[in-house]
Amino acid sequence: MATLGQTPSQTIGPFFNFALPFDSGPSVVPDGTLGAIRLAGRVTDGAGEPVPDALIETWQADAAGRFGISAGFGGYGRCPTGEDGEFHFLTVKPGSVAGRAPHIDVIVFARGLLLNLVTRMYFPDEEAANAADPVLMAVDPERRSTLIAHKDGDTLRFDIRLQGEHETVFFDA
């Protein structure tokens, strides 16, 4: 069976902010949801400078490990970075899917990126599951920590370093 040539990617550019962000984008779950967690992070470039024109999107299973089917839970988030390169989401911790470690799929778009970057955020309180996760195991052990969020008070932080020392692991998906 023939396959068709893929449409190539181009940069999101600098002028998406009037169009793509929407008010409820960072709220994967509504305020006040039982068990809601706050995620935050900063996107930085190869010089360690914040990236103020990135768009972060997330996709995840619900607390029971199901994708996109539970009422009132879409599982999708969208947040542009601010002047300080920061993004944030309100969500719930996903359940395990097919025995794998709970994780959130993350896509990064930015001015300067010709192709979106795909990564994953894992949870710091899932040491045993993380140690057995086939995706984390495919990553150089020295770089695995770039994929695991860390606790900062009430917030889980997941910083995204596009280039350089401690560069975040990105996947070919």
Partner: protein
Amino acid sequence: MPNSAHPPLDWPDYKSNRLRHPSRPLVPLPTGMDDLTAPVLGEDRVGAFDADLTRQHDGEPIGERIIVTGRVVDGAGRPIRNQLIEIWQANSCGRYIQKNDQHPAPLDPNFTGFGRCLTDDDGGYRFVTIKPGAYPWRNHHNAWRPAHIHFSLFGTAFTHRLITQMYFPGDPLFPLDPIFNSILDPKARERLISKFDLDTTVPEWALGYRFDIVLGGADQTPLED
């Protein structure tokens, strides 16, 4: 890279790419570890005039009215149904409504430049808009972007998420644009150029352009419906 249609990560001709591209190779996801689902962003996100960018204000925008239509399919040619498409663009003078656009060209009070629609059962979509102008972007001396419309698309897997740009046939700026030329395969580059289409063109009203979109790799194993 299995998806050779896409630009490389590292493309120094595009200045702001230099400090932003990963320097390490992408890590292949182990087979079967893809989350093969995608958000379904349905009708609650699309308003009545979202697909007609010429009717979002009291008056009509200045510029050349056009129709942009096509189909969104996967690598096996199957339609991507009821999925969200978002587009955004400059006005006919090459100016975006966004505050950080410094190009000294006029804003048009009757044009926002943002559109949305859902694909139909055949993967089809249709926007009415005005043809965007070229604009300068300071990447290098006398740098101008060819006229383009930005497209944002969702497929059947989140990793098929695509943001791209649609161009217009015959643009003299093509050979000079490092963003367009970051796509190394000339055949893949051609896929971003819409085609003038007389069947889409409406007499005495607007020219029509076709832009078909294929999401997901040609490296995927095709499945029978």
